[in-house]
Amino acid sequence: MHNLAGGVDVGSCTTKAVIIDCEHRIVASHVTYSGTDFECASRETWDKCLKAGGITQSEVGRVVSTGYGRNSVPFASVHLTEISCHGRGCLHFLPGPITVVDIGGQDNKIIKLDERGLRVSFKMNRKCAAGTGAFLEEMALRLRLPIEKLDDLARTADGEVPLGSYCTVFSATEVLEKIKAGHPIDRIVRGLFRSVVKRVLEMDTLTDTVVLTGGVIEHNHFLADLIREHTSTPVRIPPHPQIIGALGAALYALEVE
């Protein structure tokens, strides 16, 4: 019987690894860019996670993989979808019923769990990446802004420029029109954040406590403020929202162990 278990979440944008102990405490975690070689990314992230915790491989029992590249983790004994793992990760911090909203690099998910923590329903965005991290990345590029500056700009803006389109490409054109029309960049950025929120709200209803996860939320807490404007239910951000999927995978690994 091992005392530790691991989870690896290979997302389209970043790969996350988490190691937990038998008390369900996070003892190490690490995040790297996924790049184009998922297997390589999973190994590198996992090795760095071990190193960060001063842990040897032999101390870790089972590893569960999840995420877009879940089948590319050769050292994982089981793989599960990110739908299951995000739900499980959130339940670690909050009891059901909850509505998990995960805003990822290339897709969004809304997962509803009942009071027992069992999944009631889930929805992923359609093929289009509108409203995902990829949308904000594209817009940051168009605006020549470092992506990490977006949250502050949106938060401190003294107004908001509404954007109508839900297509990323059309939005880019719309943004250029707004710039040409003389609108301040920070108000446009807040409009972009609002656009992300609208795309999420179109996917499903928000019922029960809303729990926000994913890399986009990790780096853009202002999105939570905007979501709160659209719902009367509590909106929570768990600690380390970016690694919730990997944590969920590690929790499953511990259960199997």
Binding site: T81, E82, S84, F122, K127
Partner: protein
């Protein structure tokens, strides 16, 4: 916890006979086209095929050709050709793939049967019970070949089939007779019509029984089998060959049921599929469901060729009724009750709706039906976004993850 394991779908022995049957069907069409006799009628999938056979036509079904274009993954390459001449990417991708293939001079019949081109129609006969697109589809060829285009305009969104529906439809079918007589050169023969309708009735009864075998636990066939074995019910109904085929297939399936032979070993979950097949991904999806030990045991789509109302004693009226009672032309309340009954009878534990981008008439997820079903039956539901033929509307990874996550959800409930 769902995990992927390799399994194999069991082969149905009757399938080898069907391959020969279909080859015969297309060869007969090719021969008729080359020799100029008998005349070729194009017919929509749920059009008045019985009347056409009775009039002596060989009957060709372009929707079947559309499905072949999808299944062979030729469709996505040829759809843009139709888009470029004005047929929108948002309309029926059977239409756009078929027209695109025609404009490019391609057909999957060449590789499958050595047939160089689709059989040119002498008359085009549609029924709008499927959608309006079939009319526009046939209109393209009517202009192209300058041949007669005739059709039946079915009432839509019907709650209960009323007498006035039947009277109207029956008159519309009868009104075709003079044109069909002129094109075929044959006189309408009521006895022959009754005979053909009788064969269609026998075929449909057998097809229903084939599908009902799926209610057995474990199920002896899958949706993926049914999409193959439905072919005679679609393209050979009204002919003795279709009846003979199902008389061969049905005992094989009944034997499986008797001996508890599952189409999927270790069947763990039973799914109802609503909407069109994703033709270009049938193999991949079949493999994924097999690996998840999940059987799609029933579907709206394969049930579309069950025509209980056929009655040789009243051929026009009963044909009008059979083609109007269809699921696709009914209102939401009828559809919900219909699906509830099949879901219950087939011990289904989850429902998948395929929202086909270019097929609104066959996509039932767009007006809140999945949510209502979830509330009413307490069954998990999943909506997959895709298309019957246009794989530009399909995301491989999104679909795979959605299905896998759905089965994880069903597993959690076991």
């Amino acid at each position: 916890m769902a995990s992927l394991e390799k399994t194999d779908r069991k082969t149905i022995a009757a399938a080898s006979k069907m391959k020969k049957l279909l080859a015969g069907h297309f060869e007969a069409l090719d021969k008729a086209k080359k020799e100029g006799t008998p005349k070729v009628a194009w017919c929509t999938s749920v059009g008045p095929a019985e009347l056409l056979h009775a009039m002596g036509f060989v009957v060709y079904y372009p929707e079947n050709h559309g499905a072949l274009l999808g299944a062979t993954r030729m469709a996505t390459d040829v759809i843009p050709i139709a888009n470029a001449v004005g047929y929108s990417p948002d309309i029926c991708s059977y239409l756009t793939s078929d027209v695109g293939a025609y404009l490019k001079g391609l057909t999957p019949l060449t590789k499958a049967y050595g047939i160089q081109s689709i059989p040119k129609a002498d008359v085009l006969v549609y029924n709008t019970n499927q959608c309006r697109d079939v009319q526009d589809w046939f209109a393209f060829y009517a202009r192209e070949w300058k041949v007669p285009l005739i059709g039946i305009h079915t009432h839509r969104n019907i709650k209960a089939v009323e007498d006035y529906h039947i009277t109207d439809l029956s008159e519309q079918i009868q009104a075709m007779v003079p044109i069909l007589e002129e094109v075929s050169g044959n006189r309408f023969d009521m006895d022959r019509f009754r005979e053909v309708l009788g064969l269609s009735l026998e075929c449909t009864k057998l097809w229903r029984q084939v599908l009902e075998c799926g209610a057995a636990k474990p199920a002896p066939l899958t949706f993926f089998d049914a999409t193959v074995h439905m072919a005679p019910a679609v393209v050979l109904r009204g002919l003795q060959e279709a009846v003979d085929y199902y008389k061969l297939l049905l005992p094989e399936l009944k034997e499986r049921v008797k001996n508890g032979i599952a189409a999927i070993d270790g069947e763990r979950h039973r799914i109802y599929w609503d909407g069109m097949p994703i033709w270009g991904k049938l193999k991949d999806l079949s493999t994924q469901f097999l690996s998840l030990k999940t059987n799609i045991v029933a579907s709206t789509y394969c049930n579309s060729w069950i025509f209980d109302a056929f009655d040789p004693k009243t051929p026009f009226e009963s044909m009008a009724r059979a083609y109007t009672e269809l699921f696709i032309v009914r209102d939401e309340s009828y559809k919900e009750a219909y699906m509830d009954a099949w879901i219950k009878n087939f011990s289904v534990d989850g429902v998948i709706f395929h929202d086909a981008r270019t097929c609104p008439n066959n996509s039932n997820s767009r007006y809140g039906m999945p949510q209502r079903m979830n509330d009413r039956l307490g069954l998990p539901v999943l909506v997959l976004n895709g298309d019957l033929n246009d794989l530009r509307c399909y995301s491989e990874e999104q679909t795979r993850t959605n299905i896998e996550a759905f089965i994880e959800q069903l597993e959690e409930r076991r």
